[in-house]
Amino acid sequence: MDDNIFEKLKILSDAAKYDVSCVSSGVDRKNNTVGSIGNAAACGICHTWSADGRCISLLKILLTNDCIYDCKYCMNRVTNPTNRATFTPEEVAELTIQFYRRNYIEGLFLSSAVEKSPDYTMENLYRVLYLLRYKYNFWGYVHVKGIPGASNDLIQKTGMLADRMSVNIELPTRESLSLLAPQKKVENLLKPMALINHEISRTIDDKKHFSNTPRFVPGGQSTQMIIGATPDNDKTILNLSQNLYDRFNMKRVFFSAYIPVISAPNLPAISTMPPMLREHRLYQADWLMRFYYFKSEELFTETEPNLDLEFDPKMMFALRNMDKFPIEINKASYEELLRIPGLGVTSAQRIIRERKNAELSYDSLRKMRTVLKRAKYFITVKGKYYGNINFDPDRIKDEVRQQEIQKQISIFDLV
């Protein structure tokens, strides 16, 4: 590797760092090819955390930032006079292997600007993956971007070498997309998603009959959209993610708070702070949809199409649906337990397990390290209510606010 590798790495990781996904989970693969390096752990492994508190698990780079498109929100757009660089496939492979050997990373997240044409770009991505898998014998985690508009054949053979593939939906609505990324069409973004989903289910099916069939992106597909560049509300955003989960079996839908990197007439001003609290609330709501059996429509009312910035979405849901509470800890089903604000999957499982032996007391909840700060206003234990105030949404809000003032939680340091 020569000296300008530093410059290339700088430019091409700079351009990739706004991509949020850094997940390395979902694939369990032992190292079983002779002479190879690497495995994949189903739980995912974070390797370090950067100064913004985000985890670093993968080497996240673009193959090139040379782009034919002119998306208004992107610093690689063709009309932006920025430094351009392109890695050779060998450089990418060498960097990945050397970082991986030192346990800096779990694998590679390879993305690219669209250089010349979608097919040309996809072909290059495929080449890198092929080199990495078969010449460098690398079997750690690889996440690759699917390029909208590339041929099915290319997406298909790249997917056979990757652990995860993602196509970015970019923006929450057709209108926003045509305003900011006029060269991208919704249909072109959805087409590769459908193809990836189809290939995943096909190879899973084949595997039932032929155990040696290789899996197509065993870690599934994900996507991401930018939040706050356009006036779309949270309801629209979450309905879209629900749709994406349902239609394409997405593993994750990521949100990225828009950070103004350039000024343009249709965009928020350069001085605008990224809406990080909103992004955080959207992720919490997304979590509710994936692990807590919530549907997106339950979170909103006719008059309230946005999440509450002050309270987390589950708390907000409880405050708007007081008739469903309080919930009796000793009788509630698992799904009901999960609806209690502040109560997570671990706590719910512990409760279910432990109450097989004897009725739970409030004290045993505390010993289990159940977070009762918010939960206590929405539960009864052996019929007794422990909130110490009237069961009234405004009173509860006031109490929780008081607690917050006494002990600021870290998320508010962000804003």
């Binding site: 530093f6 752990a41 370090t48 913004d52 050397q98 050997r101 432990e354 032996n357």
Partner: protein
Amino acid sequence: MDYLYDGTFEGLLTCIYYHYKKEKATGIFEVKSYQQSLINDFERIETDANKAKIVSNAIVNKISREAYVHIYYCYLSSNEQKEIIILDFLIFAFKYGNNTMNFYSHEKVLPINEISLKVSREVHKFLGILRFSDIEGILYAKFSPDHDILVLLIEHFADRYKYEKFMIHDQRRNKAIIYDNDLWQMIDVDVINELEYSQNEKLIQDLWKQYFTNMAIKERKNTNLQFQFVPARYRKNMTEFH
């Protein structure tokens, strides 16, 4: 009777054996850290693999494999009361059999659960934050974990770096695991002098540091959050924090 053992897991299980078959234990202690008490007699127990096996089989068969794993993790922790916590747990657990682990918050069960959770969290963390450097073709990593987790790391790294030679060095406990060609062994290690890195090694480290610094989005700076994930005591051996 205070039973003293040699610090091995088999030794600890042998003491449990004597608790049931000979005389009830008032406490179990490691020989080298034992402070003789005024009231209790003590006896030094020779580690006996057969007796240990009888106890471990009983744990797995009469309680559960889950309990066995928790006990082992607890044994690896740096908790100073771990032996008595394990003994108390077992006295309770042999009564309640395979229902034991459902008493999550019971005073005899909770400590085992919490200590074991701490140990497994540290293991998971080090799967990510352990840093190797290439010293003439051999990968070398040093670290100072809170708990004695070296033995819990080997399976992962032996698979990940199956065709490499490597060494993981626990500086706090002066021991290391060396791995080569599908075989690993635990060895005692004294001080290893500051290593001289090759030009190429320095180049890779610098690339990594540059990448690491550059990945932080400055508009989102949040070093408090970063400290929650990577506490200061872990940073000493992490390339990117130097």
